[in-house]
Amino acid sequence: MTRNVFIVDDDEMFSGMLMEYLSRNKLLKVYLYSTGEQALNEISKEPVVAILDYHLNTNVKSAANGLDILKELKKNLPKVHAIMLSSQTKYGVAANSILEGAEQYVMKDETAFEKIHDIIVEILEEQGLN
């Protein structure tokens, strides 16, 4: 049985490569959304993990940011595991994400794809879902 994973990021390059990378794991069914609002509309898919970028309003100025989407997602799906992405090394950004319910904060660097995959595998193992 496959497990649903949401990627919410308006960076087509990064999210496209991440989707490709995660989709190699046959246990995962990966869905890609460029805004958090789109992801919230598909919440009935009950993702086990949601990967959210901190900035989600580069292309759609009115789009909510990653932190607001994280709050909404957690409100509607309290069991969802959230991974926040950012290129910012600022402690405050990471701390805010964790405070709002993100389990992990991953920097968008060369090791991000592997790190995210490892985190997801760990989550599935902990829950006996793999």
Partner: protein, 147 residues
């Protein structure tokens, strides 16, 4: 004496040092070598179609982001500059662009996150644009050699 000074002046003009923006020395790259697709090749497992797709995304996304950065810099809209730079950062390592440009982008991010103008900002924007456009030119050629 005048001849010696003239000679020294002419010699000093021959020395090509990379311009410095902030604390970052720019142009460490060999001429005509602005990108390195090793990382992309590894991540795509050599899938040329996927590599082409990613390069095309870079070629589409980069000029758009650069325009946003330039326009927002003129308007002193630092939040938008910051967001656009944030989106640009992963493309540097994905396309194997020299890390000096990623460092420049991160410096720009730091400056703009303070939400106030510094003299470094336009210089960094200019250098970033120059580097990215050269990378784009090179990738336009590279893409034709991919299957």
């Amino acid at each position: 004496m005048k001849r010696i000074l003239n000679f020294l002046f002419m010699e000093s003009k021959k020395v090509k040092t990379a311009p410095v923006v902030g604390n970052i020395q720019t142009w460490p790259l060999e001429k005509g070598k602005y990108t390195d697709l090793s990382y992309l090749r590894k991540q795509t497992k050599g899938n040329q179609e996927l590599m082409k797709k990613m390069i095309m995304l870079y070629l589409k996304q980069t000029p758009e982001l650069l325009n946003t950065i330039k326009e927002s810099t003129e308007e002193k809209d630092w939040v938008t500059v910051n967001t656009a730079v944030h989106k640009m950062i992963p493309s540097f390592w994905m396309m194997g662009i020299d890390p000096v440009f990623e460092k420049m982008a991160k410096t720009l991010q730091e400056h703009t996150s303070k939400n106030e103008f510094t003299e470094e900002i336009p210089k960094l924007v200019f250098k970033l644009e120059e580097g990215c456009l050269l990378a784009c030119k090179e990738l336009e050629v590279t893409i034709t050699s991919l299957g």
